[in-house]
């Protein structure tokens, strides 16, 4: 039996001439639809999780750790003043041309206090122009109120959550309580009144909920050297390229006497690993759904074989081979899977692109039912709390759209192969059908 005749038979199986009601064809169609709908959540989860991970990682790198981070040794000579830090930065830049920019920072903790209460703050003393000069700061921080200038002395910029807790807006003042050594080395409290110049948000509350930005100069005057950490954020062209490793290897010995050098993925490795593993598990589960959907193809093929017993018998008596017939059915099953892919893939991509709209809609529906349930069970809406599906307190707002082309191609390829695999057993059995039994009954 030639290949082309197998294909012709397969084609007839898929698109028969007679309009007779065929349960098997309906089943094949249903299998196709099932594959399609099972691909939608898979692609959505893949895209959204990729987007979230990218968004969070970009923020963690751009706004917090930078590409490489140099943590100066406590008491290092380079940490004596903002100028000595800048000297060190310049020497690094001259030493290795792959370094694009350097952002020095002094970090410490303090208590921010307003009429609403006292709240812990992560103090970040940075260069005055960092919000403009650092491209990540400029693009990833959203200015909610005021501006991002740290020019005047004793001015600060607050993160959104901290500003909310303190109940302040741009133009208000807050008191910052820090500890500092006095002349005789004793630790004393220092209370400073700061003017809030602006309020910013990175869109990821887990990252910025306690941030309070000061100028580097103010930082040095307000924070104790024992308790705060000095660091240099070193930025290269690409945090993800192999060249970062090279830069790391070049700079590490050079800076060995100044401090310890870290790569960005070393600094928050637990979190990155957490994200990666969560994503893998979610995708694994979605793959299971596609697997189950593909079994529908087997089921439908079995029905198809039942229905076409006569035709198989006739073909065999005309010289058709077992393999040829099996091939036809394998082809039929694979094409069904492929059509399901054609149906589901664009749908999944569409859903991913409109993810936030879809989530918003689902959230409205869920809240509607929750309200109805609350109303019925408690007789009123007093105890009702709005359900947030992706609570901004824990999840990234504004998830960037990252269409992972290689992974999607892999999924497409895998789906077709899977459809092929599940078609094998029913197809081989179809091929093995004994014509004589069937022909006798005609």
């Amino acid at each position: 039996m030639t290949l082309s005749s197998s294909l012709i038979f397969a084609f007839r199986l898929l698109f028969p001439r007679t309009g007779k009601k065929s349960n098997a064809r309906r089943s094949l169609f249903a299998a196709l639809v099932c594959i399609g709908i099972s691909l939608v959540p898979l692609i959505m989860i893949l895209t959204v999780s990729n987007g979230m991970i990218k968004g969070i990682t970009d923020r963690m790198i751009g706004l917090s750790s930078s590409h490489l981070q140099l943590l100066l040794y406590s008491g290092s000579e380079y940490g004596e003043s903002p100028d000595s830090l800048r000297l060190l930065s310049d020497s690094i830049r001259m030493y290795d041309s792959s370094v694009k920019s350097i952002y020095p920072e002094l970090q410490g903790i303090g208590l921010a206090s307003s009429s609403k209460g006292r709240f812990g703050a992560s103090i970040r003393a940075v260069e005055k122009d960092v919000f403009e000069k650092n491209p990540a700061f400029a693009s990833l921080f959203e200015v909610l109120d005021g501006n991002t200038s740290l020019d005047s002395k004793n001015s600060c910029i607050l993160g959104k959550k901290l500003a909310q807790d303190l109940g302040v807006r741009a133009g208000s003042s807050v008191r910052l309580i820090t500890t500092k050594e006095n002349a005789s080395g004793k630790i004393v409290p220092k209370i400073t009144v700061l003017k809030v110049n602006g309020i910013v948000s990175s869109g990821y509350q887990e990252l910025d909920s306690l941030w309070l930005f000061l100028s580097l100069e103010d930082g040095f005057s307000l924070l104790s050297s024992k308790s705060s950490t000095l660091q240099l954020g070193i930025e290269t062209d690409d945090a993800f390229s192999i060249n970062l490793e090279k830069t790391y290897r070049t700079l590490k010995p050079f800076l060995a006497y100044a401090g310890k050098l870290y790569r960005w993925n070393e600094l928050n490795s637990a979190q990155y690993e957490n994200f990666a593993s969560t994503q893998i598990m979610l995708i694994f589960i979605m793959l299971l759904i596609v697997l189950v959907a593909s079994v529908n193809i087997s089921s439908a093929l079995v029905m198809l074989v039942m229905e076409r017993k006569k035709e198989i018998a006739i073909l065999k008596s005309l010289g058709g081979t077992s393999n040829g017939i099996a091939l036809s059915f394998i082809f039929t099953g694979t094409v069904t899977g492929f059509l399901g892919l054609v149906f589901g893939l664009p749908l999944g991509l569409l859903a991913s692109v409109h993810f936030s709209t879809i989530m918003g809609l689902i959230e409205k529906i869920v809240n509607f039912f929750a309200m109805a349930f609350c109303f019925l069970s408690e007789g009123g809406l007093a105890n009702f709390v709005q359900i947030r599906l992706l609570d901004p307190a824990f999840y990234l707002q504004n998830i960037p759209l990252v269409i992972p082309i290689p992974q999607i191609l892999l999924i497409a390829f895998g789906t077709v192969i899977l459809s092929l695999l599940v078609s094998v057993i029913p197809a081989v059995r179809a091929g093995k059908e004994k014509p004589i039994e069937t022909l006798r009954k005609i």
């Binding site: 309906r26 630790i187 192999i242 893998i280 359900i387």
Partner: protein, 432 residues
């Protein structure tokens, strides 16, 4: 002859059983097997996924409930609590009662390194009296010893940040409180007697325990006394709160559900969303069952007409097929439950497998694209961490999942048998 429901059911059952028995061989057996397997797989996966997620979530929920939020936090002035302990002792639903004070502090280690901390002043006997507390607070250095005044037990991450060790000194440098509390004082020195570790990183980074008498001494007269109430059943909270409020109207009660509302709420949303996604498996299988049932109805159309001709009612005949659906559902759900429970209990192996799988998959991908990076591919240690977290199985959830499996099969058969008598009897009989 009276047509009762019982007698109807008995003949329906008779016919249905015979149909099922006869279908053992041939292609319809295969489709039925696949349908059953589909339900089994769906039930198994859903049970495993939910139990694992429960395990993850509870690894911090339990910690929070045993150490921070309790089941009910009861707050008031010292005088408001007369008779409260007696009352609590007589309440059958209360497992344990822990009085304490709380304050926010900026602590300073002996090296000068500072960190923000939440100081809880507890009775020194709490470690031995409260089994839940002891289970979740793992002392890895020193001991939970608050017997002598000015002792403190701190979290592992807090110890690291302040550079403190057992035997070292830590000062509660800044302390929140009323007018009789100095905001800043370097006189509030405490000796670290132990360092603890819990499953929740935030508690490790921000909690410290001191003796309750020290709390009374340092936190000032305005400090509110809080009783942490632990119940045998965490869902008894609202009932217990109303009972307490009745007797003690002047004290404030806060349930654990409100205390960490946004966090617990987010956890619950995550769980529900995942459940919903895995539920799609049932949808897919139900579609399969629907088609299989349609086919069965079609194949048996002669018999259906005969039964109708002999006076069988449409509802009864539909029931024959619905019963088949029920049978498929049950024969899938029960092995599904068994497999699901088995898998949940052995998740450690699964995670180790998953770890190896993803390692080899990424190694393969990297080798294809950038072979020189091969060295950098590492096994993600999170999987081994997950392997160590025991899944938590809730019987109610397992039952509900099994019922859903059976229900989806039933629904599919119901929908499939709707068109059963659309073909008129005479048509079929005429079709010679």
């Amino acid at each position: 002859m009276n047509l009762t429901i019982k007698s109807s059911l008995s003949w329906i059952f008779f016919v249905s059983r015979r149909f099922a028995k006869v279908d053992r061989k041939g292609s319809s057996a295969v489709t039925r097997l696949l349908a059953s397997l589909g339900i089994c797989f769906g039930v198994m996966t859903l049970i495993t996924v939910i139990s694992v997620m429960n395990g993850f979530q509870h690894s911090f929920i339990d910690v929070i409930m045993e150490i921070s939020s309790y089941h009910i936090r009861v707050e008031g002035g010292n005088k408001d609590f007369e008779d409260f302990e007696d009352f609590a002792a007589s309440e059958k639903s209360i497992r344990s009662l822990t009085p304490f004070y709380e304050a926010q502090s900026l602590v300073l280690g002996s090296s000068g390194k500072e960190a923000a901390a939440m100081i809880k002043a507890l009775p020194p006997t709490v470690y031995n009296d409260d089994a839940g507390f002891k289970k979740n607070v793992d002392i890895f250095s020193g001991a939970f010893d608050l017997d002598s005044p000015n002792s403190i037990v701190i979290g592992s991450e807090l110890a690291r940040r302040t550079g403190s060790r057992v035997g070292g000194q830590i000062s509660l440098y800044a302390l929140s409180g009323g007018n009789d509390v100095d905001l800043f004082s370097s006189e509030r020195l405490f000796t670290v007697t132990g360092i603890f570790h819990t499953g929740y990183a935030e508690i490790n980074a921000s909690f410290a325990f001191i003796g309750i008498e020290d709390g009374q001494k340092y936190f000032g007269s305005d400090a509110k006394l809080i009783y942490g109430v632990k119940l045998f059943d965490e869902n008894d909270d609202s009932r217990e709160i109303s009972r307490i409020q009745e007797k003690f109207p002047q004290i404030k009660c806060e349930s654990w559900k409100n205390y960490n509302r946004s966090f617990f709420g987010a956890l619950r949303v995550e769980k529900n969303m995942l459940m919903f996604l895995v539920f799609l498996i049932f949808v897919v299988v139900a579609i399969n069952i629907f088609n299989g049932m349609r086919r069965m109805v079609f194949e048996r159309r002669e018999e259906i007409s005969l039964l109708t001709a002999f006076g069988g009612r449409p509802a009864s005949i539909k029931s024959i097929f619905i019963m088949q659906g029920l049978l498929t559902g049950i024969s899938g759900a029960i092995p599904g439950v068994i497999l699901g429970l088995f898998l949940s209990i052995n998740m450690e192996t699964v995670f180790i497998l998953l770890s190896k799988l993803s390692y080899y998959a990424s190694l393969f991908a990297v080798m294809l694209v950038n072979p020189e990076n091969g060295d950098f591919v590492r096994e993600n240690p999170m999987f081994l961490l997950y392997a160590g977290i025991p899944p938590k199985i809730f019987l109610g959830e397992v039952v509900m999942i099994a019922l859903f499996g059976i229900f989806s099969s039933l629904l599919a058969s119901l929908l499939a048998s709707r068109g059963i008598l659309k073909m008129t009897v005479a048509e079929v009989l005429r079709d010679e």
